[in-house]
Symmetry: C2
């Protein structure tokens, strides 16, 4: 019923040339001399027939596809990641590459992915467990871009976690806080990020010659916030680096319930620059990653990798995160 697919053969017939010519024209093959007249004829025919080359055939013969897959672990997606993904997609677009996302979890191993798709590149976000990582590296993916949380891991540093932590701690210190706390997210899946950021806070504290941060678990539950606040108060903590803005906002609420004021009773800095943070009372200071920039860099790397250029392992500079100073510290 849907009428057979339009193939290059049909276009060739319509344009009165051979299939090879069609292919040369449509792919701008460099080593072929093709007069403008036939080129136009072919283009014309392809357009009217609405010809679209079949991906699988293309891949089969070229040995590579135009698909880039980004592996997203099954964390709760924040607001930043989707923006990054969009930026990557727009960065890839002019080079004819399409971005697809694939969520991976422990239950559904990624291994079967190569059966389904032959990606030109894979962007791995966070680790998938040693076994999966290994099989990923051994697979015949054209290019594999690994994004890491810290400068300690190998790969391209996406969210410079240590730098983030440092900025948070330094911001608090700049406002006179000498005893610092860290609000650690309970969700185990976020531990990778959290470790890096906490490390940054630790380093900054050491450099500033103050005590290492006092870590408390905090989730969305107000009870956890209250407990943490009490613990910090008792040990004289005056400023807290929160893993992210959501947790920081939960602490805001906890402080309000405890009749405490921000930043006089406790200073706060978050991460992510959520819209809500700017409107909190008082406005929340935060370390903001720049999704546009991050996405752009990832896309550039992928394009370079796909084109066979050596990858290199430069780190993202701190241009991609910015401290947004507001009034919560």
């Amino acid at each position: 019923m849907p009428g057979r697919r339009v193939t290059a053969e049909d276009v060739a017939r319509a344009a009165g040339v051979s299939r090879a010519t069609v292919s040369y024209v449509l792919n701008n093959h460099p080593h072929q001399k093709i007069p403008e007249s036939t080129r136009e004829r072919v283009m014309q025919a392809a357009a009217t027939l609405e010809y679209t080359p079949l991906a699988s055939a293309r891949i089969l013969s070229r040995g590579r596809s135009d698909v880039v897959v980004m592996l997203i672990p099954d964390w709760p997606l924040g607001s930043v990641l989707p923006q990054v993904m969009d930026a990557v997609a727009t960065g890839l677009d002019p080079h004819g590459l399409e971005l697809f996302l694939h969520r991976c979890s422990r239950e559904r191993p990624v291994r079967k992915l190569w059966t389904a798709i032959t990606p030109a590149a894979v962007v791995r976000l966070g680790s998938l467990g040693a076994e999966e990582d290994e099989s990923l590296r051994r697979s015949e993916i054209g290019y594999l871009l690994e994004l890491a949380n810290t400068e300690l891991e190998s790969g391209l540093v996406l969210f410079p976690g240590i730098q983030t932590g440092r900025l948070q701690a330094e911001h608090l210190a700049a406002h006179g806080h000498r005893k610092i706390g860290y609000a650690w997210p309970e969700d185990a899946r976020l531990a990778g990020f959290a470790t890096a950021r906490l490390e940054g806070v630790r380093q900054a504290c050491a450099d500033l010659g103050i005590d290492p941060p006092m870590v408390q678990d905090v989730s969305y539950d107000p009870a956890t916030a209250e407990k943490a606040i009490a613990a910090w108060k008792q040990s004289g903590v005056t400023g807290v680096c929160a893993f992210n803005d959501e947790i920081a906002l939960n602490l805001f609420d906890g402080l309000r319930r405890a009749q405490m004021a921000v930043p006089t009773d406790l200073g706060l800095v978050g991460v992510d620059n959520l819209p809500w943070g700017a409107h909190a009372e008082p406005p929340l200071s935060t370390v903001a990653p720049d999704p546009e920039q991050i996405g752009k860099v990832i896309a550039e790397r992928v394009v370079a990798g796909v084109n066979g250029e050596a990858a290199g392992t430069a780190r993202l500079s701190s241009t991609f995160i910015n401290l947004i100073e507001r009034e919560s510290a």
Copy 2:
């Protein structure tokens, strides 16, 4: 360097059979009699060689892939959608189908997608604009599942928007509210959902014989909340249906700043069942979609469609949304 790809040919050689036999064994071809001994030999060889059939070749010869693509518009992703996506993926998995996500925006037309991938099915979430929709339908996708917001549109109803709105309004009415407001999200990309939900609220009001809802724009900005609250107060509104929990929580804050109490001064119901809502003060009543169930149904539909069974256009029953009564109404 990476050493040539392992093909079915290699497996055949290793197992001492022909390539055809390998293919029959690995695909469990029904019309072939294959003794257990050779079957084992082939499996064994495939395993030790770590043979993975090349997707594109498979697709090319079978004419269909094992990839299901879900088109996600570029709204800000909430917390529900990712959960739905995960549920879809798990539902697809046992049938050998892999789920990939593709964000689409106005700038990057989906049309080129069929060049990159030959999906077994496409799940369309929301509309992409008339032109895109049309080209999507005309393409040779095996199966296209369209998800709609209201019973008015064609397709499978994913989030029963009208039903959602009704539940919200009825909940308020059950607690004595006779004059109802609606908090409309400013983000234009959410208008599709919002229209459906508001329609539900309208219907419920009509059925209950009370005034139609008084609509106010509310975003993340507290200023919008304050303005809306003032307007509702002035016109005697006592209960408000918020587009979602985030907006409801913003209204919470606004009410607190205005020294007003929930639900005595203004009752509130949200949608989505965000973790924060349960911990709000007082806990937020909300209409909760069930991501697991929704995902399961989508997956079932897709599997049926891919297997060539007629789709049907049954609507999702209200089992997929549940009113969670807490204390904010």
